[in-house]
Assembly symmetry: C2
Homo-oligomer: 116 residues x 2
DNA sequence: TCAATTCGTTTCGGTTCCGTTTCCAACGCG
DNA sequence: CGCGTTGGAAACGGAACCGAAACGAATTGA
């Protein structure tokens, strides 16, 4: 069964998750960074800079910088593609997996508390 | 009935909404700005800088700056409280209401498309 | 009345992000 | 081999944001 929500519920859910994120500010990711992170963790690998840039409709430089930031946070890691050494493959990390998992927990938690 | 989701569904929903936001970049709001905007539109007025700052657990300066930005985008408006002229009351705008409504539409849309 | 408090804004110095352009190593094809 | 193409990073100047602190105006209350 597909998830069904009324407009007021969807917005309230969004607000509650955003508030949780701001209040406990685990990592202060931008919307773009969050979209990149989730794509890396949810879509099947391999992930390259170029492919991510196309999927998000942004420039490659945006992806490179986001990977710099999230790499420093240890949320993702970069590795040269040995098959084609021009490519960089982006991989998940244990820390990143935990972070993403926690986001999912927050969403489910807030969804379950939603007024009917 | 409360909304129920499995972890994979919740994360996929989050990703899809983030991707929609990034790709069509309507307004490029930060997580904080989005939390503030939704609170103004979903929680009952009146909204003051101080109350918003407490609700989000951030400094008043953060709220002031976010209101500057979103005010320039015409998503919210500021008015002096005539009862107590130290206060600033933050109000909704037509443009902001449309924007918030659209976010709700995206969430519902993406939720309905979620794999079972 | 006048000092203390409250509210929101502004300023400071610093960091991070942005878009664009330029660069370089690796590839692939003639 | 040489040369155009590709993938990603680096460089550039500009814009936005940050926390902390200082600031004025409005209010309170002794």
């Amino acid at each position: 069964m597909p998830i069904e929500m009324r407009p007021s519920q969807s917005l309230r859910l969004w607000q509650q998750v955003m508030l949780a994120e701001v209040r406990d500010d685990f990592y202060d990711l931008t919307t773009r960074q969050m979209a990149i992170l989730l794509t890396i963790y949810l879509d099947p690998p391999p992930h390259t800079v170029r492919a991510l840039a196309e999927k998000l409709n942004v420039s490659k430089a945006v992806i490179t910088r986001a990977l710099d930031t999230m790499g420093a946070m240890k949320l993702v890691s970069r590795h040269r593609d040995e098959k084609d050494k021009r490519n960089v493959l982006i991989r998940r990390t244990v820390e990143g997996a935990l972070y993403v998992e926690r986001i999912g927990d927050v969403i489910i938690d807030k969804a379950s508390e939603l007024p009917i």
